[in-house]
């Protein structure tokens, strides 16, 4: 994948409207955040689809705990 994990994390955080800057880190277990909601799941799917042309489903999100795992999954599907 063309971008590094840090940049992926930063861009993802920007997409998640209302999330406080710096909340998301590569090791953050993102769906255990207090502010996490079902809308964020759709935002993640849309972010990955429009930026990396990778289609994730709800199960993919459930299978990834941290942002790094999400990044690795997307990377594995872009290669």
């Amino acid at each position: 994948m063309k971008i590094e994990i840090e940049e992926f994390t930063r861009q993802l955080e920007e997409e998640l409207e209302g999330m406080k800057p710096g909340t998301l880190q590569p090791e953050t277990v993102y769906h255990e955040l207090d502010s996490w909601n079902s809308m964020y799941a759709l935002l993640v799917i849309a972010f990955v689809d429009s930026n990396f042309n990778v289609q994730l489903n709800a199960q993919d999100l459930k299978n990834t705990k941290t942002v790094r795992q999400l990044y690795d999954l997307v990377a594995s599907r872009t290669n």
Binding site: I45, Q55, A58
Partner: protein
């Protein structure tokens, strides 16, 4: 082979209007959050009306000011869910109530979000086969019957409604369709306990008080399906009709959810001015959403006669369909 044109359009929304503030008070969820998740500010639910009442009221908006039309209509198609009897078809009841002639074909078409497109395809078949010359295409849905009173996600999204379109033959070429069906995704959006499989019993009714079944939706699965399917479908329908993006005046999609529509628009790089989104004031009206959007676009001056419009429906089934019409 000839094609079709939409000569008249009308819609009807029930009187009961539900605001985000009302939902905020009921569910203790901020109205800003409800709006952010759906893009909807108001939705409409019936109080005592049935599917046929909604369709009839929409049709009367056309027939009352064009009384001679009733004798021209030789096919009546009613699209939606929530038909009133297992038999007879609800379209037959409407043929009588609307005073249509007796030598008129009547069909119920049980379809959801892609129903208007599929019905246009049936219209094209009837018109090009000289089986009908003037068709009254009605859509009507009462999703509120099947939404649990504790389900904010669905309550905030869906509206009851009815529409009427008069469809006639046109001499222009084109008007090719793209269709798709994938029943493997049927569980993603389904009205459980609404038919002959596991019908409602006493225990169910005592527990839920939902005699018409209960709608269940896996929002992220539907979202993923649409993101994957719709852009490909649009590309295909443009190619099949030999039309370039520049020739298209307006894109009118099933008004599923504002966030999904915006994601699709961005992915397909369609400029805002060519993409219609009216979900804010009306909500997701299932099979009625495309004709309501067309009517609103025409009334607001964004859709003019002669303009080429891409129409696309997608959702429950899973099913999808698209075509291009010259308005």
């Amino acid at each position: 082979m000839g094609t079709l044109t939409i000569s008249h359009l009308a819609y009807h929304l029930p009187d009961k209007k539900i605001s985000n503030l009302e939902l905020q008070q009921r569910f203790s969820v901020p109205e800003s959050q409800i709006f952010r998740q759906t893009g909807v500010k108001t939705r409409f639910h019936v109080e005592g009306e049935l599917m046929s009442n909604l369709a009839e009221k929409a049709a009367r908006k056309i027939l009352d000011i064009n009384p001679s039309l009733a004798s021209e209509i030789d096919a009546l198609i009613l699209v939606g869910h929530g038909f009133e009897y297992q038999g007879p078809i609800t379209a037959a009841l409407l043929q009588h109530r609307l005073g249509l002639k007796k030598d008129c074909l009547a069909l119920d078409l049980p379809q959801g979000c892609s129903g208007y497109i599929n019905a246009l395809a049936v219209c094209k078949g009837l018109l090009s086969g000289d089986l009908a010359g003037c068709i009254l295409l009605l859509t009507a849905d009462t999703p509120s019957f099947a939404i649990s009173s504790d389900n904010l996600e669905l309550l905030s999204l869906f509206s009851d409604s009815g529409t009427a379109s008069v469809i006639r033959k046109s001499d222009e070429e084109g008007h090719k369709f793209v269709f798709g069906t994938d029943g493997s995704g049927s569980e993603f959006l389904m009205v459980k306990r609404s038919g002959t499989v596991h019908p409602p019993d006493v225990e169910w009714l005592q527990e839920t008080n939902m005699p018409h079944g209960k709608m269940q939706m896996d929002g992220s699965a539907i979202f993923t399906f649409a993101l994957k399917t719709v852009p490909k479908m649009i590309e295909e329908v443009l190619m099949k009709n030999n039309v370039k993006d520049d020739d298209i005046g307006l894109y009118v999609f099933h008004q599923a959810n504002s966030f999904l529509l915006e994601s699709l628009r961005k992915k397909m790089k369609i400029p805002h001015e060519k993409f219609f989104n009216d979900i804010t004031e009306v909500g997701n009206t299932v099979s009625s959403s495309i004709p309501i959007a067309l009517k609103q676009a025409a009334d607001s001056g964004r859709l003019n006669r002669g303009m080429k419009v891409v129409l696309a429906g997608f959702g429950i089934g899973l099913s999808w369909g698209a075509t291009i019409v010259k308005y």
